[in-house]
Point group: C2
Chain length 282, copies 2
């Protein structure tokens, strides 16, 4: 049982944590911290949270579990304030899409004041953002990557995995660097590629978009995502994204070469190899 | 009213034409032509077609409307047999994903024997193939591109557009070369890119696929498509696909450069520009 849960940042992810915790009755009290009262008030009005504040020290003090759910770029900037205000026995996690920077910041802060922090990345999202699209069941069936290091207290890992599992998530563990390489490949690269696909059609002839059918729409759906959030993610995870882009260019060049050479049987063999891999994902 | 409709090739598209025509009562008789009886028998058994044959001359003779719905590579090869067997007043169309080659072949055949041919490309598909996934409503709401040239008889355009409209399609006209450039951009390029995305992850670490969430799955769904069909489409539309790949590489290089240079505001501006374009597609 959580005595007091504080959620910092009440967007899609933070809002869904608060809604899920409330519905499952996992916390006695839920406090939400945000930059503006207007964006917090709907959660107070609908009973998702008990108290709202724009003062991070006030919001974090006295919480036994803190979930940091602001955009990635804001997160590392506000962590020092969280470390100053948190109770000694507080357990802290975040929901950021990249982990090496956040975990590194937490461990640097931990040298002055050791707190039980562990990084989390719930792999649940939407091309839409904000509390308005937060859902009580957002994490049901979602993979949640947690990124403990050898300095992470076992108690933090246990408490935070219990939270995600109680919200229906399937927890898996990765070190922060491996996490960032993995999400660069299966999340950030597809985003950049979807953006480039839309832009490629515009460069060729915007009128072609009138013929876009389900295939194009599915492939580029994530290009409709929040630009500010993705700018920050790309920036934060630039080294791993660079590696993923390089692998993608190799893969594209390889297929392009086979098609250009007219090597039909090899094209088909490659497409079949890829199809079998993709089909396994269901 | 169609007296006798002959569908050559009873896969997803041909099967859906037959099912739709039957349900709407648009034809007195429906004949299906295929290479093997076993693949035609289900359509006879379920009442979608009245007669099946593996003999193309037998199937096409006496039809007043022929829909050629085999894979693209087979299509041009069987067109001479269709031109020999068809009735003088037959109207012929196809459902191929590329049009310049097919229309060119039809017009070459038409120099010896003028027949009322017009190319069609119903923009409705699936990553699954075969009569088993054919649907009575596959074309409902789908864009159907027709590609008449100045040699196409007006009667063929009228008859074939009536067919697609009766099946719920929204008909639009393009010349064959423009059609091929457009579908290279909004269909064939996304397919190749989806294939390259899956392959890029495999090149980095196949284990990363375990973290694939909805974004990756949507973006790569079409990589599960039939390899034989897509080998043929890529090959058939290679020049236009090459142009689309070049535009895509430019778009990707451009975004990659902005991210690498750390130009946050320009990255955000570009992502926003792309987001607004993508959002319009709904």
């Amino acid at each position: 049982m959580i005595h007091r849960l504080t959620v910092v940042g009440l967007g899609l992810l933070g809002g869904s944590v608060a809604k899920g915790v409330r519905r499952e009755g996992l916390a006695r009290e839920i406090v939400a911290v945000g930059r503006r009262y207007e964006s917090l008030e709907p959660a107070l009005a609908d009973g998702t949270v008990d108290r709202i504040t724009t003062d991070i020290a006030d919001g974090v003090a006295g919480a036994d579990l803190c979930v940091l759910a602001t955009p990635v770029a804001t997160l590392t900037a506000l962590m020092p304030a969280v470390w100053r205000a948190a109770a000694d026995d507080a357990v802290i996690t975040d929901v950021g899409s990249t982990k090496a920077g956040i975990v590194g910041t937490a461990e640097a802060l931990g040298r002055d004041r050791p707190l039980a922090f562990v990084g989390s990345h719930p792999m649940a999202g939407s091309e839409r953002a904000g509390y308005g699209v937060a859902r009580v069941d957002l994490f049901r069936g979602a993979t949640v990557v947690m990124t403990p290091t050898d300095r992470t207290p076992a108690a933090a890992v246990k408490r935070v995995s219990q939270l995600w599992e109680a919200l229906g998530g399937r927890v898996t563990m990765l070190d922060p660097a491996s996490h960032d390489r993995a999400v660069a490949a299966i999340s950030h690269l597809p985003h950049l590629v979807a953006d480039a696909l839309v832009d490629a059609v515009v460069r060729l002839d915007p009128g072609f978009l009138e013929l876009a059918a389900r295939g194009f729409k599915d492939t580029t759906r994530i290009a409709a995502s929040d630009a500010r959030m993705w700018r920050e993610i790309f920036q934060e995870n630039r080294p791993a994204l660079g590696e993923a882009i390089a692998a993608f260019r190799q893969a594209l060049d390889h297929l392009d070469r086979l098609v250009t050479e007219g090597d039909g049987p090899r094209v088909e063999a490659e497409l079949n190899r890829i199809r079998l891999i993709r089909e396994k994902l269901a």
